[in-house]
């Protein structure tokens, strides 16, 4: 009996010590499945750890996000996590938080460089590595197919101007010439993260080029659009499709043997990593400035090791 009471008291004390409040202002929760899943995972993980949270969503609106940041500063939360709507626009308000002594963690997409002095850490995916890994998946597969010397590929990029799109594309192109120097990248065009648009871009590629051995897309959603176009033209069999951010549709296309590989990026890992980073900073631990979570390669060969993405 005494033991149980002691345990209860100890737990109560522990939870008292851990009763920290963490505020988060997100980019645009409703807009896609990734962000929706991220928010759910964040709330669940916080509940699991017994952390109090203030969960806000800017709805893609910079002005609203700045106001939310100011609210969180007023509420004197212990730490703020921000998913920037715009890497430039939020720098001044991030600086305000820093001056108020509240540590700021940036999640998923980084803020502009001039804001780096005011944040403790960036938690998110390493998009350059993702691009590089996609390049390796593509090159390995083309080599298996005996196309390391003669292959030609095309690229469908994310929306121009988005850091994620630029970094993935740079990471892919830089790594690809290293691993497959003889395979020519015929052309890169933006698909704007949009499946229908990517389908149209791919249709035009198919008209323009009689031979295409591989397609790299900045995410699976666009990759599946490209796959649709190739299937329509009866040319999908000769093409290796590699994407990034494995979506459920990409995962299923891999199960059907139509789509070769991707990068597994879980919004659940993303959310947990952000909260872990914030808590580690509050505990005074040494946290790397760029605190990436791992986004492994997934191909038809190893996809059984991964659960199907929920988005």
């Amino acid at each position: 009996m005494m033991k149980r009471i002691a345990l209860t008291v100890a737990t109560a004390l522990l939870s008292l010590a851990a009763a920290q409040t963490i505020g988060i202002t997100q980019n645009n929760v409703g807009v896609d499945s990734y962000q929706t899943t991220y928010e759910q995972a964040f709330i669940e993980y916080a509940a699991e750890l017994g952390v109090d949270t203030v969960v806000l969503d800017a709805g893609g609106d910079e002005a609203r996000q700045i106001a939310q940041m100011q609210d969180l500063i007023q509420q004197e939360v212990d730490a703020i996590i921000i998913w920037p709507t715009n890497g430039q626009a939020v720098v001044p308000v991030v600086r305000q938080a820093d001056q108020a002594g509240i540590p700021v963690v940036v999640t998923n997409s980084n803020i502009a460089e001039q804001g780096f002095d005011f944040i403790e850490s960036f938690s998110g995916p390493d998009n350059i590595t993702q691009g590089a890994r996609s390049a390796e998946i593509m090159c390995d597969r083309l080599t298996e197919r005996g196309l390391a010397e003669t292959g030609v590929i095309v690229e469908i990029q994310g929306q121009p101007g988005y850091t994620t799109a630029i970094e993935r594309s740079d990471g892919f192109q830089d790594r690809f010439v290293e691993v497959c120097p003889d395979v020519e990248l015929l052309e890169s065009q933006p698909g704007d993260w949009n499946r229908e648009k990517s389908q149209r871009v791919m249709e035009n590629f198919l008209v323009k080029y009689d031979t295409i051995h591989g397609v790299y897309s900045g995410d699976d959603n666009m990759g599946v659009g490209a796959l649709n176009a190739a299937k329509d033209a009866g040319r999908a069999d000769g093409i290796t499709f590699v994407g990034a951010t494995n979506f459920a549709v990409g995962y299923e296309a891999m199960e059907r043997g139509e789509y070769w590989g991707s990068i597994y990026q879980s919004p659940v890992d993303d959310a947990r990593n952000a909260l872990d980073t914030a808590l580690a900073i509050l505990d005074g631990e040494d946290v790397p400035f760029l605190n990436y979570f791992d986004t492994p390669k997934i191909t038809q060969d190893n996809q059984s090791e991964f659960t199907k993405p929920v988005f």
Binding site: N194, R195, E203
Partner: protein, 335 residues
């Protein structure tokens, strides 16, 4: 422009302008095609040209309905997010209640939205930009609430007859496939062309858009005509959504984002006046094709994708200018 017998023979400027006025859009289109044919040997192949029509078939289908609204003297800026909502709806309902009912409900929903737009503009006489710009946000919000932000997908993509609308092929000539979206778009253009140009309803649309006051005095129920033009727009959005959903076999929540302006650009490119009362389905089809040819041509030439925005704008300015020039009989404004 009335000409009396006594006028001297037309100058080169007047002759040129008359030709431009009558066939300007067609001439612009043909010049564009010829230029692209010289620039890329891939361009003038049957497969590529049909590909262009297929790529613009969804945009074109929407533009047909919007043409009614514009000729009726109004704008419909809600078609983009209406496309998002209806595409999400038809894809999501497909697996839940089957393709047939999903299509029916989608068309009904689009007609109701069109009727709300049309009611507010026609009967309450509210400004159409305000009404449909508001509707644009409302429908985007409704889409996100409906899906909770998740993409929707059709599970058994190879096992549904729903694939017919976006992926089906009717027949093959040589190595050229005639696709269902192309046939749907051009078929609908013919039908709606007849409705607009050969029926009493069509004439009333022109009358209401050209001179609403006179139309009222001559006993036309212009409120109802406006209502019908918006329902027409809703209907073509639903058809576009069915083609789009079938083609992609899934939908993002923002799939129609920005389409309202693209559709409007195609209608204007064709030469239908934003002031209402003039235009035609044929012009819209040409405008849509110009849009598609620019997009396809620049890609074949390897130009940066976003060059098309700049090129489209320049061509649009030239077309609107020539249209105005032919109406006033001179290239420049008098003063």
């Amino acid at each position: 422009m009335t000409q009396t017998v006594a006028t001297p023979p037309p100058t080169w400027q007047e002759r040129g302008l008359k030709l431009l006025r009558d066939q300007g859009i067609l001439i612009a289109f043909l010049l564009l095609v010829i230029a692209l044919a010289f620039a890329s040997d891939r361009f003038l192949t049957a497969n590529n040209l049909l590909g262009v029509i297929r790529q613009v078939s969804i945009l074109g289908t929407l533009a047909l309905g919007v043409t009614f609204v514009v000729i009726g003297g109004n704008l419909d800026l809600s078609v983009g997010s209406m496309l998002s909502l209806t595409t999400v709806l038809v894809v999501d309902l497909h697996d839940k209640i089957g393709p047939g009912p999903a299509i029916l409900i989608t068309i009904l929903v689009a007609l109701v939205i069109g009727a709300i737009n049309g009611g507010l503009v026609g009967y309450l006489r509210l400004n159409s930009v305000i009404v449909t710009l508001g509707m644009l946000s409302v429908l985007q919000g409704a889409t996100l609430i409906y899906t909770g932000g998740k993409n929707v997908d059709i599970q058994n993509q190879d096992a549904t007859w729903f694939a017919f609308f976006g992926r089906g092929q009717l027949f093959t000539i040589g190595d050229v496939n005639i696709n269902v979206p192309v046939v749907l778009f051009l078929g609908l253009a013919v039908v709606l062309g007849i409705v607009l140009h050969k029926t009493g309803f069509g004439r009333k649309v022109f009358a209401v858009g050209g001179n609403p006051v006179a139309a009222n005095y001559s006993g036309l129920r212009s409120s109802r005509i406006v209502l019908y033009t918006y329902m027409m727009s809703g209907f073509t959005v639903a058809i576009g959504a069915i083609i789009l959903g079938s083609r992609v076999m899934g939908s993002q929540n923002n799939v129609g984002e920005g389409w309202e302006l693209r559709v409007l650009a195609a209608v204007i490119l064709g030469g239908t006046s934003l002031l209402g009362g003039s235009g035609s389905i044929f012009k819209t089809v040409i405008g849509v094709l110009i849009w598609g040819v620019i997009q396809n041509g620049l890609l074949l030439l390897g130009a940066p994708y976003y060059a098309q925005w700049i090129v489209t704008w320049i061509i649009m300015i030239v077309i609107v200018w020539l249209d105005l020039a032919s109406r006033r009989g001179r290239l420049w404004a008098a003063t």
